[in-house]
Amino acid sequence: IEEPLIFEYGRERETGVDLPAGSEEESLRLGGLERRKPLDLPGLSEPETMRHYVRLSRSNYAIDSGIYPLGSCTMKHNPRLNEAVARLPGLSDIHPLQPVSTVQGALELIDTLAHWLKVATGLPAVAMSPKAGAHGELCGMMAIKAAHQAKGDARSIVLVPESAHGTNPATAALLGYKVETVPAREDGTVDPEAVRSKMSPQVAALMLTNPNTCGLFEPDVIEIAKAVHEAGAYFYCDGANFNAIQGRVRPGDLGVDAMHINLHKTFSTPHGGGGPGAGPVVLSEALAPFAPLPWVVSNGEQGFDLVEHAAEGDETRPFGRMTAFHGQMGMFVRALAWMMSHGSDGMRQAAEDAVLSANYVRACLSDLMSVPFPDHPSMHEVLFDDGFLYESDISTLDIAKALIDEGFHPMTIYFPLVVHGAMLIEPTESESKASLDLFVATLRDLVIAAKRGDRARFADAPRYAPRRRLDETTAARKPILCWLPRRPQADAAE
């Protein structure tokens, strides 16, 4: 049974919500701006709504139903304790602009999380309000720009290694920077000499992902930081892969000036089909004064205060405001619950298990698949390229779609761009050995079939998914982004 769109239930004039019988007045005081055309949106009864979305959900893959080894996305277990505490009315049912005296617990929580983030990263300050990783990058780069401006230093270039997340150059460009690419070495890492050679008084910052998107820890990161600092630039680190190193090394000890932390990745706030995330940014001494508004201050016995406006004569010189209100409180609660549950020992263990699992997957597959950068151990994710498929006419995409038929979510494919036909596998620390073994065995079986040239198994895959391969080209060429009544296509599809 195919589930229609809500607009196709044919009940536009109904509603599934009862409201208190109102003292609704006849006379409106809307200044004459009342709606003339009634809203053409269907209202489904509660049983219909429940069934519609339950049915839709069942065509989704999820961590709770199987391994989700999407490299760079860190799909780990989402503890339900965190969902439970995030729903405590004292944490969920409070308004961002209530008197500060009535939200002392909320401010304490933010202050506590800030402390954990600072200690875990070894950096002295943190901007809590960014709403996601890319927003955090923007925040960090804004702080860098503000810091240069404060020195009257109008630098115009940002260096980005070619293995960077696409958000890095996009962020730099948004702030008017010219992006220059730093090529990678043969072994997949960044050469400090290459950085040094690109350095000039025009360079505002280097944006480096570490561990990088090939899953490698940059061995020369301290050298690189030095090169950056010597040129008067700042070192921005993309912290998306912090899960690999938490508790093993502090970015502050590596010379990082700013790093965003994807709370939804490292600290497991649920991904929710694509958000919400949260991207606090830790900052070095040099950048701390420029952190955006608002922030929480502890006044010891007198409790906590919230600074929402820059005051004259302060030492701080906030560069502005990233968003209305104080950040992703709902995600703060979950992230802090995850951190407290693990503790410093568990956080370190989680990183170690994530790295161990990735290297285990690599060890189990490297005889069959090609590892483009064999000289370094992998961190929390292992990168393969499609070298092992050259003699077949099977592609990375085919492998991914065939994995779907075997009941698995595929790895990240065609990212990073630095290798051909990339397959990036991140098992995370949440998988049992049995789960890894099953995944590995399945993938081995597929790779052998591919090498054998068993095209039939791949060409039509996926066969057993809710949908087979979808026509993405037409979708982009003639975009249909919104349901329209009596549109011929819609009728045909019913």
Binding site: E25, S57, S92, D93, P96, A172, A173, G273, V333
Partner: protein, 447 residues
């Protein structure tokens, strides 16, 4: 540790398979100088019982809206969310899935986004919408950048009655991107003059309705003037429920409509996560930031959905992307869509009417308190009162009596002579008793 499935035996076997002697060997690339030999200086692992206890302690130090007579708004509104919504967003398949990169096994999320986009279009009166933004304020900043791209101008005019936080976000982005922005002065009594600020150098004019003081704004003349000047009208809505009763910006000539969607499906959550709505005209589609979901067919001809128009996005275009935005507000968008599916057009209109009726009753009740002046002739569910004392003090005093009685304008715009203004909102969650308690406490506090 309850979250870590690997046993000591497993770890040993895996290290053996990898062929290294210890876990340290896998961290060999980390410079020895930065190597931590043990855990960082934070407390050790805690049991579930202890963690829960700790968070209950955090929670107890806050006054939950449900335990007060509650009238705060100014960009975040307390509405009743049907229990069905929370049940559905907690479905494992929605909660623990990721961005639908593999559409064949993500049709659930994708169809929801398609429904979301359609609902947003109908609500705002626009033609295309994206699959959500972080929140209303960041959506506003993105709208200004989009207008710059479309008009190839870089000067925005921002209404003085735009929510000050929203204005600050626009200002920050604008300043650090070296764009020019004109911020007008607030007009607490409403009737702000925007027309005279618009000229041929503007890329857009940014107007909120109802504005931060609660005044509904007639966008039509502003749109006309903007279009004459070759500029776009960016309409901002912070209370999505208002769209159930008020003429949609799309019908008044807006070119981009951004809104905070929190009111539908989402709780207050001390300010986040929320869900930004972003809608525009079909012709501007290719410059619209953010993810979009589109309809297509699979190889068997079955209807299906995919993320599309990715050529605008950072993972394809890198530094030439329309925006650096990567994630959306997926789960909050789901909550929005489920709530709106339950309501339907009829239900949203009734809900909006009830909100308006509650606010009307509240305005009448407060107007009778000696010394209180209601500034608004018109409003939706929120309005501004002028008090004989600083509003921040009054709000504090009211909180002491269990009344969260609104947002002092000085909290949003300190030092601008607006200290006697209090912005108060009422929704369907307010009973007659709440309103009476508020009015009588206010009387006491002012006495």
């Amino acid at each position: 540790m309850r979250y870590l499935p690997l046993s000591a035996d497993d770890r040993a076997a895996m290290l053996h398979r990898i062929g290294v002697g210890s876990i340290d060997d896998l961290f060999a690339d980390v410079p020895r100088a930065a190597w931590l030999d043990g855990p960082v200086d934070l407390p050790a692992a805690k049991s579930e019982i202890e963690v829960e206890r700790r968070f209950r302690r955090f929670a107890r130090r806050n006054l939950a809206a449900g335990d007060a007579a509650f009238f705060c708004g100014a960009g975040a509104y307390r509405h009743h969310v049907p229990a069905t919504v929370d049940h559905l967003i907690q479905r494992s398949e929605f909660l623990t899935s990721y961005t639908p990169y593999q559409p064949e096994i993500s049709q659930g999320t994708l169809q929801v986004l398609f429904e979301f986009q359609t609902q947003v279009c109908e609500l705002t009166g626009m033609e295309v919408a994206n699959a959500s933004m972080y929140d209303g304020s960041t959506a506003t900043a993105e709208a200004v950048l989009m207008a710059h791209r479309l008009t190839k101008r870089s000067r925005a005019v921002v209404a003085g009655n735009l929510h000050p936080h929203y204005a600050a976000v626009v200002e920050t982005t604008s300043r650090l991107s070296s764009h020019d922005t004109v911020f007008l002065t607030p007009t607490p009594e409403g009737g702000e003059d925007l027309l005279s600020a618009i000229d041929g150098t503007c890329s857009c004019v940014v107007v909120q309705t109802p504005d931060v003081f609660g005044h509904p704004v007639d966008l039509k003349p502003i749109a006309e003037r903007a279009h004459e000047a070759g500029a776009l009208l960016v309409a901002v809505v912070t209370e999505a429920v208002s769209l159930g009763l008020m003429v949609p910006p799309g019908a008044q000539g807006a070119d981009i409509v951004v809104a905070e969607g929190q009111s539908l499906g989402n709780g207050l959550n001390f300010g986040g996560p929320y869900v930004g709505l972003f809608a525009t005209r079909q012709k501007f589609l290719r410059q619209m930031p953010g993810r979009v979901c589109g309809e297509t067919v699979d190889v068997e001809g079955k209807r299906g959905y995919v993320l599309t128009l990715s050529t605008r996005e950072q993972h394809i275009r890198r530094e030439k992307a329309t925006s650096n935005i990567c994630t959306n507000s997926g789960l909050c968008a789901l909550a929005f869509t489920v709530h709106l599916t339950l309501l339907g057009g009829v239900g949203l209109e009734r809900l909006a009417r009830l909100n308006h009726a509650r606010a009307t009753r509240l305005a009448d009740a407060l107007a009778e308190v000696p010394g209180v002046e209601v500034l608004n002739k018109a409003f939706f569910n929120e309005f501004t009162v002028r008090l004989p004392k600083p509003a921040a003090e009054i709000a504090e005093a009211l909180a002491g009596k269990g009344v969260l009685g609104g947002v002092p304008m000085s909290r949003l715009r300190p030092g601008e002579g607006l200290d006697d203004l209090l912005v108060v909102a009422a929704t369907e969650t307010n009973t007659d008793e709440d309103i009476d308690v508020f009015a009588s406490c206010l009387k006491e506090v002012l006495a």
